[in-house]
Amino acid sequence: MSEEKQQPRRPIECGVPDPMQYMHPVLKANYGNWAWHDRMRPGVLHHVSKTGDEVWTVRAGTQRQMDVYTIRKLCDIADTFAEGHVRFTTRSNIEFMVSSQDKVEPLIGKLTEEGFPVGGTGNSVSMISHTQGWLHCDIPGTDASGVVKSLMDMMHQEFIKEEMPNRVRITTSCCQINCGGQGDIAINVQYTKPPVINHDLVANVCERPAVVARCPVAAIRPAMVNGKATLEVDEKKCICCGACYPPCPPMQINSRESTKIAIWVGGKHSNARSKPTFHKLVMANLPNNPPRWPEVEEVVKKILYAYKENARDWERVGEWIERIGWPKFFDLVDMPFTHHHLDDYRGARTSLNASAHIHF
């Protein structure tokens, strides 16, 4: 292995691989030519092309963070029970395509047997958008894999059934940056206090003007502490956003006491019916409680089942709440409405109810 040092290999800049080489033949043959689809049961999609070709897709959940053994097992199943072609969805579910309906049940049987829940289609709770957390990230407030595993265990039945009013797309984010994105329900780290500065380190580690520039509310200013050039935070101004932390790790925003979990609802990406929306704060200050975050589980469960029991067909979480109103929502889930829910950031004005549209 020493010849490499002498002659480093130049990369082949091949870019994004062509999917056609790996695609299921029926998909390839009908590329851009599909006519309609239906779902015969949870976890299964049935697509019919304009030429009459049919394909059945079986969707199963994975842990996303997979060891090679798990991946190989999925390959074995694909080879034996399906047709050797799979794809992954935007939510880390795996999909097996088969060209005849009789392969569907055995495939489901095998997947279930091997512990891969079949579901995530239609009006189910699909896999949670997953981020890195303690396993890999350099700025995490919690662990994504653990939160996701705990919640998916709790919601397993809702993954394998399609009993929700509409799809439920949940996200997690292990810091306020929100790599997990917006969700019908979102479980995000929330910093509850301004950063605590390790003045000894700032001087060495941080490019101070860059950090000052990063703060959206100009709460950081240069300062001298014990004769060292460091930074200080105006706690009255600070909105606990954590933007200063990645460029300057000595501005510790995380601590056992201050890193909490907040729950958000009503994010929506699709344009179906209503325009896409951002999620909205419901619950803050939940403990960051590994390994199973029971307080978070409890809150998510309440929201999920309030939605399941009260929403109408096709209503996404946010649309349901729009209809019944926020007062009723907070009552149904039995959660507090506080001044923290009132926006006070830029443009807050537009979130005020400037109408006599009132829910009683």
Binding site: Q176, N178, N188, Q190, T192, K193, P194, P216, C238, I239, C240, C241, S258, K260, A262, G266, F278, H279, K280, L281, V282, A284, N285, R312, I321, E322, R323, I324, G325, W326, P327, K328, F329, F330, P336, F337, T338, H339, H340, H341, L342, D343, D344, Y345, A348, R349, T350, S351, L352, N353, A354, S355, A356, H357, I358, H359, F360
Partner: protein, 429 residues
């Protein structure tokens, strides 16, 4: 004194056409040669024609008032008095009308007579804030006119940084949508705080408006600092026979497209047997279905008002509508009215003490944030105040649990049907 009549070539063009012509009216006054105002109206027409020619206005302000009051007069002095001396002073008296703008011919004639003696003969029914505007008095005559108007029971309205003249819709007097006694509410508040109207000492103007229902026929949400909108809390009333009669008349498709599909919160559903399902807990009292089917649908019995604070027009930070501050309060018993007036006072006081100079209350709320405003006026938070909770995580939440406790308290009160105005509130000094 009878100077030559000014030419009014441009204005003359406004005499034609089917709509009543103000120019004709002005000329009638000019031509009443036996009347004291004829010369004034001749020069007024002259100056106005000059404005039409040059596309410029020629009035400037000043200071004019009646004895004992500081406000209520809009003083106008001409910048071109040299050419139009008789209308060099052309002040307006803003006079408050009876709530709902009801008159009998007797009182209208009296108003005309007074203005014929002391003014220009030109009266506007009404200004955009609701005043009867007696336009065109000399500085001297302002007092005479006021005295006589005052003697027959009329009083000056607002001008300057003061409580302003208010408006209420016809409501209770002639409208089935009405949810409270608009005229009583208006008079309770305005007549309680006349001092703030007559002696301007607020940071800026402050307006109340009263609409009996969310149709908002006096434009309160946009145009009042303190908007009071009638509404109801229980279920709307449905007369299924009238529903069917309506469908028979317009057809099913029309009903679906114009009623069912137009409900903003999908609270309506048409059954296959042509009866109507109303999901009252989803209904936001927008009024649409009631407006369309006036016989079939009507407000419930548990009536009251919503209060929205902070409406104003464009100046400086741009247009603002009022924000829901009190989603519901009863306004029926004497005690209700007392509480209401007390609350109005609280808001006016907060405004007096916290607004910057020339800042409307809506701008104050925008500047200090809703949370601080609510604390400042002793109002409990309610989700009806907002379209939706915050979408950004930029908030310090370490005191969330304490705030949650307060919410529990509030919920207890609410469960008992109480509004969110704290009774035990004492304003911070």
């Amino acid at each position: 004194m009878a100077s030559k009549k000014h030419e009014t070539k441009l204005l003359d063009e406004l005499e034609d056409g089917p709509w009543p012509s103000f120019v004709k009216g002005l000329k009638r006054l000019r031509d009443s040669e036996d009347k004291q105002y004829a010369p004034m109206m001749n020069d007024l027409l002259g100056q106005l024609e000059h404005s039409y020619e040059t596309t410029r206005g020629y009035w400037k302000g000043g200071t004019v008032s009646v004895f004992g009051y500081g406000g209520g007069i809009i003083p106008r002095f001409s910048e071109v008095a040299k050419d139009y001396p008789e209308s060099k002073e052309f002040h307006t008296l803003r006079v408050m009308p009876p709530a709902g703008m009801h008159y009998d011919t007797d009182v209208l004639r009296k108003l005309c007579d007074i203005w014929e003696r002391h003014g220009s003969g030109l009266i506007a029914f009404h200004g955009q804030s609701g005043d009867i505007m007696f336009q065109g008095a000399t500085t001297e005559n302002v007092q005479h006119a006021f005295d006589e108007l005052n003697e027959i029971g009329f009083d000056l309205g607002g001008a300057g940084p003061a409580l302003r003249t208010s408006m209420s819709c016809v409501g209770h007097a002639r409208c089935e949508m009405s949810n409270f006694d608009e005229a009583r509410a208006l008079r309770s508040v305005i007549n309680e705080f006349l001092d703030e109207m007559h002696r301007p000492a607020l940071p800026y103007k402050f307006k109340f408006k009263f609409s009996g229902c969310p149709n908002d026929c006096v434009n309160a949400i946009h145009r009042a600092d303190f908007a009071v909108i009638g509404t109801w809390r229980d279920d709307m009333k449905v007369d299924q026979t009238e529903v069917k009669a309506y469908i028979d008349e317009v057809g099913r498709k029309y009903m679906i497209d114009n009623v069912i599909a137009r409900c903003p919160t999908n609270a309506l559903s048409l059954n296959d047997d042509d009866t109507l399902d109303v999901d009252n807990s989803s209904c936001v009292r927008c009024m649409h279905c009631l407006n369309v089917m006036t016989k079939a649908l009507s407000p419930g019995d548990d009536k009251g008002v919503s209060i929205l604070i902070g409406g104003k027009r464009a100046l400086k930070i741009g247009d603002l509508m009022g924000t829901v501050i009190v989603p519901f309060m009863k306004l029926e018993s004497d005690e209700d009215f007392e509480k209401f007036t007390e609350f109005a006072e609280r808001i006016i006081e907060f405004f007096a003490e916290n607004a910057l100079e020339h800042e409307r209350i809506g701008e104050t709320i925008d500047r200090i944030g809703l949370t601080h405003f609510l604390e400042g006026v002793g109002v409990d938070i309610d989700p009806n105040m907002i379209r939706h909770p915050r979408t950004n995580p930029f908030v310090r939440t370490d005191d969330f649990d304490e705030a949650a406790e307060q919410w529990k308290e509030r919920k207890k009160h609410r469960a008992e049907g109480e509004d969110n105005i704290r009774e035990d509130f004492v304003a911070a000094e």
